[in-house]
């Protein structure tokens, strides 16, 4: 579910983090906003639903992560609010100053959210100072360690690339041309960051994660990262935008799954003592509870997927001003 969230909200975060450069004037910015307008809210609900799933499936992980990252999560909340408000309020008044204010709000919210989510992921991969009582003993400043900052930057870059690919699909004219150019640049930066973070991960974890020794087949997943990047470079032609969007989606899925495999079977590894880590065995709800919530949610998820596909279909194709709201 978190992966679905990253792929979906990922592109609207990406659009946000580049909107100031790619979309130069009011009209272009309106086009960029309208491209994500009908879907960003629905995309964000995946985050809420993923949070809910975490409560019921792994109550302890939810409790430890959320209280441990207290300030970071509060910051995430405020950024989500800032971003939502910026998107909705921009169109309310025509004054250029008003619009620039909310464009800036949209940008700040998008970049910082992507960065924070990436930093959080980096810290989880690296391991957290979890004590014997299963709670987190650390400070907000410790979260901003070099490795986590690197994963944070990787996240910003990859999501920005995903966002430009989305704009390539949804726009035309000068905006489209600039999106294509930025997509090429960001592909290079993404490549560099993937290499840097991969090396850093091996250094931080001092060796290959256990999962890859136990199940050699798991190597297929990190290879998908490579596949995503190669597919990306093959889709650089201006007419291959849909393909480019799919390649960045694949890259994100592959990165998320690789991170999950790296820490498997832990959910929150402890750096104090591996014994204190929260893993899928010691923090799951009872099998009965898991089964019930699985059944109850599967039908809902099917409905959601059908509905989201429908919305994406209804609004498919290039954005034209006049039809949109923003």
């Amino acid at each position: 579910m978190l992966t679905a969230y990253t792929v979906l909200d990922g592109y609207d975060l990406g659009v946000g983090s580049l909107s100031l450069w790619i979309a130069r004037n009011d009209e272009e910015r309106r086009m960029a906003l309208n491209s994500i307008g009908p879907v960003w809210n629905g995309n964000e609900v995946w985050l809420v639903a993923a949070g809910g799933m975490l409560v019921v499936s792994f109550p302890r992980v939810y409790a430890v992560a959320f209280s441990g990252f207290y300030l970071a999560f509060m910051l995430v909340l405020w950024l989500l609010v800032l971003r939502g408000v910026s998107i909705e309020l921009r169109s309310q008044i025509g004054n250029p100053l008003w619009r620039e204010l909310w464009d800036a709000g949209f940008w700040v919210g998008s970049v910082l959210l992507a960065l924070l989510l990436g930093v959080a992921l980096g810290n989880i991969v690296r391991g957290l100072p979890i004590g014997i009582d299963g709670y987190f003993k650390g400070t907000f400043a410790q979260m901003l360690n070099p490795y986590a900052l690197l994963t944070g930057i990787l996240t910003v870059v990859v999501l920005a690339w995903h966002g430009t690919n989305y704009l390539r699909v949804k726009t035309e004219g000068a905006l489209f041309a600039r999106a294509v150019r930025w997509s090429h640049r960001l592909w290079w930066i993404a490549l560099v960051m993937v290499v840097v973070v991969t090396i850093a991960t091996f250094m931080v974890l001092s060796g290959t994660p256990r999962t890859f020794h136990v199940y050699p087949a798991a190597w297929a997943v990190p290879l998908l990262i490579l596949a995503g990047l190669v597919w990306g470079v093959l889709s650089r032609g201006a007419e291959r935008s849909t393909s480019a969007f799919r390649s960045s989606a694949l890259l994100i899925v592959a990165l998320m799954l690789t991170a999950a495999l790296t820490i498997f079977p832990d959910l929150l590894p402890s750096t104090v003592n591996p014994q204190y880590s929260l893993n899928i065995y010691n923090s799951a709800s009872s099998p009965h509870a898991l089964r019930v919530s699985l059944i109850a949610n599967v039908f809902g998820m099917i409905a959601v997927i059908v509905y989201s596909t429908y919305v994406h279909r209804v609004f498919h194709g290039k954005v034209r001003l006049g039809e949109g709201h923003y």
């Binding site: 809910g52 409560v55 109550p59 939810y62 300030l71 509060m74 609010v81 003993k137």
Partner: protein
């Protein structure tokens, strides 16, 4: 009380009370939108279509604020109440994602289609999406109330060896007897609130002599629905919700009524000030033996007073007592006000009685106050328990989050919410100023 516990409670109370202002209205308005939409389909009268789309626009703004202010609450279970999440997440968490997955998607998806308008999606689909908006918001409310009801009256669980609760029966949690009447009372309150808002804004149009037909339709709908709803708020929903309290939470009942001593044939206090020092109600006005009757249907029944329980098991008596009396007092006013409205409607003076229209307009905030007071009774009256009988509130907080951090972020929330309130009022004022229009774009 420990400073950190207090800080967590203040933060949650503040964010939940601010959030609750929005769903009260969306849950009620959803029903009226579906009603107008149905009437428009049956009668082909354009007035109803106009009303449905006008209220859908107000709904949309409200809904957005409800979502934005609701996300922090889900987070706070983990950030502020981590020991509670760890202890009970496997059970109370069952209903939370369902709200997101079923209700929220239903609500937002259909709202989008409804706002897109009849021309874009076709008449039948438009009507169905109106029903979907109402259904989604009502369903959403149920999942939340069921989650809360588990904390009021935990059911369907077993204790595991580690001292955590594990789910035993999903259906018991979903169909908690406490949830049923708590939900009925809450939804009835939401519908009544929507009726007041519809009537108040309609009255505004009549008083300022704009959109007269729309105003008349709104005021009439509000009065007719309001008479029914203000009475059903008291009986049966309020009465039966009270019966759950009698059965499952005797300390809350005693605090609500300011009853200190256990007596046979307990009187009902209409007015009075509870004094926890002396254990007496100061300057009371009583209806003799009536509390026993309301609680047990028998004038001679014995009702347990607060003194039958250890002092550390008392909820904050004054707060519970006053909020309860504010709620009941306002409820009584609502019944009287709506009956006057019905009388004026019958005498064909409803649209010309300016004093009544003024009253209708100025009482818009009252049902919100009554709802908040009622919710406070439910939550404060449950103290000192977080999960009634199972976990104390002080044991459920995040032990590793300092009071200072919580106070700091509470101030942050206060600032953000103040800004949001201003933006909300600005947006709603714009919609009201534009007035109902046929085929108007949603975000012009």
């Amino acid at each position: 009380m420990n400073e950190a516990v207090f800080a967590h409670r203040i933060q949650f109370a503040f964010t939940v009370m601010f959030h609750y202002l929005f769903p009260i209205l969306t849950m009620g308005l959803g029903f009226f939108i579906a009603l107008f939409s149905t009437l428009s389909l049956i009668t082909k009268n354009k007035r109803y279509a106009e009303a449905a789309s006008f209220w859908a626009r107000i709904f949309a703004v409200n809904f957005a604020l409800g979502v934005v202010t609701g996300i922090p609450l889900e987070f706070e279970f983990g950030t502020n109440w981590s020991r509670f999440s760890s202890f009970g997440g496997g059970v109370f968490g069952q209903t939370l994602p369902l709200e997101g997955v079923y209700a929220f998607f239903l609500e937002s998806g259909f709202l989008g289609m409804f706002l897109a308008g009849e021309k874009r999606v076709g008449r039948t689909l438009h009507w169905i999406s109106g029903l979907g908006v109402a259904g989604g918001s009502l369903l959403s409310g149920y999942f939340i109330v069921a989650t809360n009801a588990w904390m009021q009256h935990p059911v369907g669980y077993v204790m595991d060896p580690m001292g955590r609760v594990q789910l035993k029966s999903f259906w018991a949690v979903l169909l908690n007897p406490y949830a049923i009447w708590q939900y009925a009372h809450t939804i009835n309150g939401a519908l009544l609130t929507a009726a007041f808002v519809i009537g108040g804004i309609g009255a505004f149009y009549l008083l300022s002599d704009r959109h007269r037909e729309f105003g008349m339709l709104s005021v009439k709908t509000a009065v007719v629905a309001g008479v029914i709803l203000s009475i059903t708020q008291l009986f049966p929903t309020g009465d039966l919700n009270g019966a759950s309290v009698v059965r499952y939470q005797p300390t809350k009942l005693a605090a609500m009524e300011g009853l200190f001593d256990t007596v046979q044939g307990a009187p009902l206090a209409i007015i009075g000030m509870p004094d926890t020092q002396t254990g007496k109600l100061i300057d009371p006005i009583y209806v003799p033996q009536f509390l026993s009757f309301l609680a047990y249907g028998n004038f001679q029944a014995t009702v347990d007073g607060l003194n039958s329980y250890a002092r550390e098991l008392w909820p904050p008596v004054e707060l519970t007592y006053y909020c309860y009396h504010i709620m009941v007092g306002l409820g009584t006013i609502f019944i009287a006000q709506m009956l006057i409205g019905l009388f004026l409607l019958w005498r064909r003076k409803l649209y010309s009685s300016r004093w009544f229209l003024w009253m209708l307009m100025l009482t818009i905030p009252f049902p919100f106050i009554a709802n908040e007071a009622g919710w406070t009774v439910a939550e404060v009256g449950r103290q000192p328990w977080l999960v009634y009988g199972l976990m104390k509130t002080a044991a459920g907080t995040s032990a590793n989050v300092a009071a200072g951090e919580t106070i700091f972020t509470t101030m942050g929330f206060a600032g953000i919410y103040a800004t949001l309130s201003i933006l909300f009022l600005f947006l709603v004022a714009r919609i009201i100023h534009r007035g109902p229009q046929e085929g108007a774009p949603v975000h012009a």
